[in-house]
Amino acid sequence: MSRAEALDALAAPARSRARQWLSRLEGPQTMGRGPAFWVAMAAVVLAAAVYPLFSNDYTVGNAAYFLVWTFMAMGLGVVWGYCGALSFGQTAFFGLAGYAYGVITINIGSAYGLTWLALILSVGLGAAFALLIGYFMFYGRIKGVFIGIVTLSVTLVLETFMAQTAGPQWAIGTARLNGFNGMSGMPPLTVPWFGGDVVLYSGTALYYVLLAMVVIVYLGLRMLLNAPFGNVLVAIRENPERTEMLGYDIRLYQMLAFGLGGALAGLSGALYTAWGQYITPSSMGLTSAALPIVWVAVGGRRDITATLLGSVLVIAGFQALTIYGSQYALVVMGALLVFTVMVTPDGVVATLMQRLGRIFGKAGR
């Protein structure tokens, strides 16, 4: 065997695995397949990519803000929509990672791309905390509505705790937690570059970074959900007893899904802090905890595409409504949730996608 042939033989399994993962971009657990779907998706991404050319930096910064939240929404989609565990406390991981990003960056600074290290550590902290809570919940055989009660309690406890950290004694290194007023002054994400760091303030540059991250996370989740792991999550949602009696350690799968949801909520939290250089305990409060459930329910919790598109639309709508008052906007969100539950329980966007699929003869899954 020549050297080239030997190298080829070594690379073949890796190529085969890569092909297998790419083939999972389409599958039974995600809507949308075939050239028409991917052309439409590419058009949406292209439109999002050219949008800053026709807008100003401030408006693009607001659009970046919408994208920040989509990771938490997709994570909740995995935990609730796919695995069947309604978490009312994704904001616990969001807030924890958001604060962690602030504490780490205030202490280690932003040189040499250290803000990215802070981002990774914060996401890791969110995931680790979710795995810990998930371990006690799922191995403690907590299920159904009690998962919502436990997770809501966790986020409210964290909010209450952070709200009383106003004194100077509540500091980690040089980072003051600042109680109810929240932390500020942390640096945004920075990219080391020749001739000086590129600072990703909440404008066009950050928007493009976030857009790329959304696309990567979305495609990654599609592959994961169509992999055997995703199949088992759906099986647990449909019939946990049967799934266990097929030989699956369902508690482990539930815990891992919850950890993934925590990591994605943590990513949203750290990016939120980097975006606005600001985070307060209210980010873990009741209102904040309830909103992701509205986004995901309205979009469609059982499909990651519907979750993503629905969340962006609802968040944008919510922001537009807050011009008229935040309480007013919350009432509309509540009404939207009631409408969804009563009229389109699968989610507004998911239902529309299913109908479009039928019309064009490509019924999704």
């Binding site: 055997p228 099986a235 007893e241 049967r242």
Partner: protein, 239 residues
């Protein structure tokens, strides 16, 4: 003959109710055995004890020479036990093919997974329904699908809880043929069943449970001729 399952001095109480009372039970490899008994005799509880859904108060369960009493349900399944529930335990929102893929993907991948799914679809006469959501199948087809899910990975012991409940006579007969076929392939079968005609069709031997304890054991002829069994179960069923 080798014993695949041995249950020794198994006891379980829920408050004041005893669902398993000093049960000593053994099952030969390759057997087709039925558990019968009146309602509340402890048949389903015995299954749940075998599956690890309930932990016994005392006693041991040995499967293929290994004490599985401390193992959790999914670990017992991985040891080679499989189960079909009384109410079809399928994933109703998923297609028939997906149901089978999920059932087998733990053990099989790629081409062997695809081939096994095809083979089981054929065995269960569900090839034409492969893309159909499992929830819209007829009751009998749902039962067959679950049997297919339970046997695709060729377990050593198949537990069946009333496999013909709600089936038409034709479906019942076909299910009996399926079980004979599986048994011929080396799968030991232990079934809880009420339908005595079906028990006669499939069982090599029968155990009668009554009030959580073994009341009688023997061939189907011995059991049907047993006066005590007639009184507690067969006679009661006629009333």
């Amino acid at each position: 003959m080798t014993q695949i399952l041995q249950v020794s001095k198994l006891n379980k109480r829920f408050g004041g109710v005893t669902v398993a009372r000093d049960i000593d039970f053994a099952l030969d490899e390759g057997a087709m055995h039925c558990l019968i008994g009146p309602n509340g005799a402890g048949k389903s509880s015995f299954f749940r004890l075998l599956l690890g859904e309930h932990a016994p108060d005392s006693g041991t369960i040995t499967f293929r020479g290994r004490d599985i009493t401390p193992l959790r349900s999914f670990q017992r399944i991985r040891e080679g036990i499989s189960v079909k529930f009384q109410v079809p335990g399928i994933f109703k929102a998923l297609s028939v093919r997906q149901n089978l893929q999920i059932a087998f993907q733990h053990h099989l991948h790629g081409a062997s997974l695809t081939e096994t799914v095809r083979r089981v679809l054929e065995f269960t006469s569900l090839t034409a329904e492969a893309a159909t959501p499992a929830g819209v199948l007829s009751h009998g087809q749902q039962q067959w699908l679950e049997i297919g899910m339970a046997v695709g990975v060729e377990p050593r012991l198949l537990l069946l809880d009333e496999p013909t409940a709600g089936m038409s006579p034709d479906e019942t007969r076909k299910t009996g043929e399926m079980l004979h076929d599986l048994n011929a392939r080396g799968i030991t079968i232990l079934a809880v069943e009420h339908d005595m005609a079906f028990v006669q069709q499939i069982a090599h031997s029968v155990t009668v449970l009554h009030m959580g304890a073994i009341f009688a054991q023997g061939s189907i002829d011995q059991i049907t001729a047993h006066p005590g069994v007639q009184e507690i179960y067969l006679g009661a069923a006629d009333e």
